[in-house]
Assembly symmetry: C2
Homo-oligomer: 434 residues x 2
């Protein structure tokens, strides 16, 4: 039976059978050393027998093979063990040289990113690179676990929608059997009406934005975690749910995967279960005091301020995440609830300098919502909003939620330089393949 | 603190606070009876006090309210309890009559489906209707749990793709910053190359098909579970993984949610951990013997045969699911592995008369794959296939997997008549909203 590389330490001095990819091959003192890669890591094998060595003649990295051999302790080898007396069998011979070297650290410098994404499925065979996506899968597992425990149910809402519900130009449009359709920018309207049934819902799925910018922050397809919860007493209950989720998920991630995170040089986590809350006005002032730059004309936070307040909170509150509260009304969406004449009940969750989520309470009064739509220049008679308004007309309780960027969470958890490195096959204005 | 309807049985003779929606209101012998709905069910409350009754004057079903009252045993009430000495508070008044009656069973007859989907977010407030999506959420949770235990990792692949990878006319096309793009029909190519990194991957996400048919089987946006596993010894290992998943997931679903399933009148489960396997040729013969209809000209199974073999296996093998093996070569896709000159190593998983998944072994030899592409009329030089072929060129081990229809699984698990009833907001040729 096949064993995996991480199981061999329990089989010292035993004969084992392993399968994987040829990851490295070198000659040293008349011996052939090979590294075999499987999904759990690397095993080093020493081959003396000429007949065995000859089987590898002309074969390249990537060759799929099996090894039978004796597990021997060897401190200098990866994992502290080595395979001796090897009997080797080729499963899939590879005769082509790899397009990139995968047993050395890959450059993530901006000028190499295109090469990285061009050969993504090969580059990820580098065992460190692959760990980004092990962490990503685990983050999603832990998020779902938390939300199930909190009695949320998972829903799937359509990605093909009629009108672009939230408006805006950054929408991909296409023909749907003769009708104009577009790709959903978010499940906003759908998840809100579903709290009228399930009270607590979430969705993890793709969202599409025709972002015409080429930066380290912009991609046209993202993975969003959408959360919505009803029967809240106030906005702060929503913030509490989100900060608890962030804290529990990241804390468990570090407890369960410290080695993986260290291998990826992830910055150590400095976080509290209850995040500091600063109003955007307070942040403008703190930034001005620290940098002697007048921010009084800014409505929302600038990217520099987002970085600043996270550094500030790290120093003063021992937290790398912070809520920036009291969004000024000019930035408020029609479905947000107003706090007063000047501010919305909406807060941005910032983590290590980047906005992960916007976390508002929603306006749940039918009449007020209609007014806010009109004020935002949206026609409440528009057929795209019929099902949405109908749910409010027939009673939706106080509720709130967030759209939470999963790619950004992966990026910031691991300290990556570019959101695209957190995505298997990123899409941007210049990249539609692979 | 708010209690939920299913917690009240633990609070007999205690004063409690609950919140929810007015679900039903009636006068009986001078008393007002109301039903309050929350996410866990229905609570009946008896209101005597005129001042309290007056608060409901002019208010309709859907009104959001809170109740304080004494929990009293009452066998005739839902859940065996009733609320007395009620103090009622209106949270969100509703003055509009509901578009459909939600406290009575909703008709799912074909001529009522349009009304059902038109007012979907209201109709699901019927507590039986909502249970379909509780089951759906639980099915997804149990599937993920099984796959994590089997050491699969979850991936997200792009839904915006360049060329339609698998070809065919049924593709939604659109403009992507001046380049032609399309919506992914499946993660096929992406998941296959990722087994070169993680060996075992899965994805649960939307897939898009421009199906120009209006039937009970066709929708243009489905939720697919895509699974791919490497280092298999043979095709049967893939079938074993899928049949084990189906058995464990559905068995656990019945163990954990028997009441919900009975409320939905789900047909009792007749299933085995190892499914019967019949070749398509065998099924043609069995069908012919039973029905005296000559099927020898058919390549694949007809829908009638799919229903027949499931009934047949239910009777002869005590299993409502079956693998139809040995797909004839004319139906084989270029990425399937051939079994011999006549058949592909591909099997259909049929459950209660419907195909849930196609489960092939993949061709993993670079040269053979190129030949099979050419035979299928696909140009291996096409840039869309560059990353795909590159992964094979540099070594992919024997592997197989499936695309598994989640909507179909929900439909057949619950015995629904139409795939659209298993989808929150279905999309078909005539329906783009809500």
């Amino acid at each position: 039976m096949r064993l995996l590389s991480n199981q061999l330490n329990d089989h010292i001095n035993q004969s084992v059978f392993i399968e994987g990819w040829l990851h490295k091959k070198r000659l040293l003192g008349g011996l052939t050393f090979i590294n075999l890669r499987d999904r759990k890591g690397i095993v080093q094998a020493v081959i003396k027998d000429k007949e065995q060595v000859d089987k590898l003649k002309g074969l390249q990295i990537g060759t799929v093979l099996s090894l039978r051999g004796l597990v021997v302790k060897e401190q200098r080898a990866p994992g502290g063990i080595e395979l001796h007396d090897v009997n080797l069998e080729i499963i899939v011979p590879v005769v082509y040289e790899p397009p990139i070297e995968i047993d050395k650290p890959l450059s993530h410098k901006p000028d190499n990113l295109d090469t990285l994404f061009e050969h993504r499925a090969i580059g990820l065979r580098n065992i460190t690179e692959a760990k980004v996506f092990l962490i990503r899968s685990e983050l999603l597992r832990l998020i779902r676990q938390f939300l199930y425990e909190q009695d949320f149910i998972e829903i799937q809402t359509p990605k093909i929608v009629g009108n672009a519900a939230e408006g805006g130009a950054e929408v991909f449009r296409f023909d749907y059997f003769g009708k104009p359709a577009s790709l959903a920018q978010s499940p906003q309207l759908y998840k809100q009406v579903m709290i009228g049934v399930f009270e607590r819902v979430f969705e993890i799925g793709p969202a599409f934005r025709a972002e015409p910018s080429a930066t380290t922050r912009h991609v046209s397809e993202v993975t969003m975690l959408d959360i919505e919860m009803a029967f809240i007493e106030n906005h702060d209950q929503v913030l509490q749910m989100i900060e608890t989720m962030l804290f529990q998920v990241l804390t468990k991630l570090w407890q369960e995967h410290e080695q993986l995170l260290n291998d990826l040089k992830a910055p150590p986590l400095i976080l509290k279960p209850d995040l500091p809350r600063y109003s955007i006005q307070q942040i403008h002032k703190l930034y001005q005091e620290a940098n002697q730059i007048d921010m009084s004309q800014e409505i929302d936070l600038t990217p520099e301020e987002e970085r600043f307040i996270c550094e500030y909170a790290k120093e003063h509150d021992q937290s790398e995440a912070v809520f920036a509260t009291d969004l000024p009304k000019p930035k408020m969406k029609f479905y947000h609830m107003a706090k007063d004449n000047d501010y919305a009940l909406s807060a941005d969750l910032l983590f290590r300098g980047l906005e992960l989520a916007t976390v508002p309470q929603r306006e749940h009064h039918y009449d007020v919502l209609i007014e806010q739509m009109k004020n935002a220049g949206i026609d409440p008679q528009d057929q795209s909003f019929k099902f949405y308004l109908e749910a409010f007309k027939h009673g939706l309780p106080p509720h709130g939620g967030c759209g939470f960027g999963i790619d950004r969470l992966v990026e910031k958890t691991l300290g990556l330089a570019n959101i695209k490195e957190a995505i298997l096959f990123p899409r941007d204005i210049n990249r539609l393949a692979p």
